[in-house]
């Protein structure tokens, strides 16, 4: 029988090794792309459109595509998500209805993106005749990021001290006035964090977008134009072996973008919870 102190040393050692190998793999993944890709990034790469299917040129049209799709998704999902969160926190107690809504939200969060893609394809692309377009892709993405926005908005609203509401009611404020003038302004940074997380997910998404927005390399001219996002472009470059060099560069740009969005979201969240002390 080994002594319990020996087993403690071994056990803790194993946990340390596991934790640091996780960290190491993570850094490996990022560096693999960044080391090869970063030197290839320059202004021309960002401002030039892809030429010869992406063999040369830049990624300008895919940046426009990414921004347009993300914008549509955010504009649709934010009011829906914040509305749901306000309803769950301010207008109802824990009840059968709120449990059903939570269950639906949790389940929606677990639905794989390819299923969203299939749905967007039959519903928006075919049935509503929107075709492969920014609108179809954006609406599909909106459905995907809705759970994220609901959850973060709910957390943000939950963190507001109850006394804020009591003061508003004591001054004769109605429930709606309380929500509009007290709750939402105070929860804004938290809500914005959820929106940023949604942006991050939209930027990184591939499967659902290929099926709903297509993969055209042209610069989109309207909401009904098909488009290709940076992630989709990266995927096609790598999978079809069009150009590894361009794939590395696009991958590096993608990682930088995600890093930026995530850092901003974390910083806002940290500031927010420090302020309300939640």
């Amino acid at each position: 029988m080994i002594s319990r102190y020996t087993s403690q040393r071994v056990g803790k050692g194993v946990v340390w090794v596991a934790a640091f190998s996780t960290l190491a793999v993570m850094i490996w993944i990022l560096l693999q792309v960044l080391v090869e890709g970063l030197p290839l990034l320059n202004l021309d790469f960002f401002m030039d459109s892809p030429r010869q299917m992406g063999r040369t040129g830049g990624i300008f049209s895919t940046i426009i595509g990414t921004l347009a799709l993300t914008a549509v998704a955010i504009v649709i999902a934010t009011p829906l998500g914040v509305g749901t969160a306000v309803y769950l926190r301010e207008y109802t107690r824990e009840s059968r209805v709120s449990r059903i809504i939570r269950f639906g939200t949790d389940c929606l969060a677990g639905v794989p993106s390819i299923i969203f893609g299939l749905f967007g394809f039959v519903f928006f692309v075919i049935l509503l005749r929107m075709g492969w377009s920014i609108l179809s892709g954006g609406l599909t993405l909106a459905a995907m990021i809705l759970p994220t926005i609901i959850c973060t908005a709910e957390e943000a609203i939950k963190a507001i001290p109850y006394s804020y509401r009591e003061v508003s009611f004591a001054l004769g404020g109605t429930r709606w006035q309380t929500v509009a003038k007290v709750i939402l302004p105070n929860a804004m940074p938290g809500i914005f964090t959820g929106v940023l997380l949604g942006v991050g997910r939209s930027v990184g998404e591939t499967a659902a977008i290929i099926l709903t927005a297509g993969s055209s390399l042209l610069i989109p001219t309207s909401l009904f134009s098909p488009t290709r996002t940076m992630s989709v472009h990266f995927y096609i470059l790598a999978r079809e072996g069009i150009s590894m060099e361009m794939a590395y560069a696009t991958g590096a740009a993608l990682i930088l973008m995600i890093l930026g969005i995530n850092t901003l979201a974390n910083w806002l969240l940290w500031r927010y919870f420090r302020k309300v002390g939640g």
Binding site: Q8, A19, L23, G83, C107, G110
Partner: protein, 268 residues
């Protein structure tokens, strides 16, 4: 407005079922689910190879991801000095935010040649897929297991330590068993993520629509079956892909419900 998420879920289920169920019915549920031959152009739609592929890849991902993920959660909760967790936690969050195509790319560039040169086979394999998926589900497992460990009353730990248990005995015999339901929920959610992953798997599994015989064989999952062929499928073939989606939807809903029920019971 508050019912948006549940209505979207219902819409998704309705449209996928409306497209997929008639074909399952026509082919026969048994020969669709248990058929070993997938030749859409000849009208044979058997998705057993994909079900088996999904199963092996997911199992592999759990074998890689669960021990590492639970170890990281224990590390963050119990062993880490604050300065280390200050670096560690954001890194794990970033791991969750990295697009899946980047993971796929890394697998393709790093793991696939490594496996091909050292273990043989095409490299594009169940093994490569499992390793990448195992890493991809880490953030889910770590964050939910960590929440479960944090939620335990301090008295559990204090009681065990005051009885003379070592720190490690406390972790192993008291804290982990007490947080069991939360950890199980994290594993199930991680499983859901693994079953649902598409793009990274298309890039590294090799996508042969046949039964994988070993972990070095190429394979195809339910998701990649849809992802690869949706671009050009028409008619029955397209419906068969939606039918694949129906099966996937059922699996995911089962896993989600299980995870929600388990974590509810913990709270109650």
């Amino acid at each position: 407005m508050a019912f948006s998420s549940i209505s979207i879920l219902a819409l998704i289920a309705f449209f996928i079922f409306a497209q997929g169920v008639p074909l399952i019915w026509r082919v026969g549920p048994a020969s669709f689910l248990l058929g070993e031959r997938w030749f859409p152009s000849h009208g044979s739609f058997g998705i057993l190879p994909m079900i088996v592929g999904s199963f092996w890849v997911t199992l592999g991902a759990l074998i890689v991801g669960v021990p590492l993920g639970v170890a990281c959660a224990v590390f963050l909760c119990e062993l880490t000095p604050p300065s280390v967790s200050l670096v560690f936690r954001p890194t794990i969050q970033l791991l969750a935010a990295i697009p899946s195509v980047i993971y796929g790319f890394w697998g393709l560039i790093v793991l696939v040649p490594l496996i091909r040169n050292n273990l043989g086979g095409p490299g594009l394999s169940v093994l490569a897929g499992s390793l990448v998926l195992g890493i991809m589900i880490l953030p889910t497992i770590i964050s939910i297991s960590e929440d479960a460990l944090h939620a335990l009353p301090r008295t559990f730990k204090e009681g065990a330590l005051s009885l003379g248990a070592t720190h490690w005995q406390t972790i192993w015999r008291v804290l982990l068993p007490a947080a069991r339901s939360g950890i199980v929920a994290s594993v199930i959610l991680g499983m859901g993520r693994a079953v649902g992953e598409t793009m990274a798997m298309i890039m590294i599994l090799g996508n042969a629509a046949q039964m994988p015989r070993s972990i070095l064989d190429s394979a195809r999952t339910l998701t990649t079956n849809i992802g690869i062929e949706m671009g050009y499928a028409t008619g029955d073939h397209r419906q068969a892909l939606f039918a694949t989606g129906v099966v996937l939807f059922f699996i995911i809903m089962g896993l989600n419900t299980l995870a929600i029920v388990i974590s509810r019971r913990r709270r109650a």
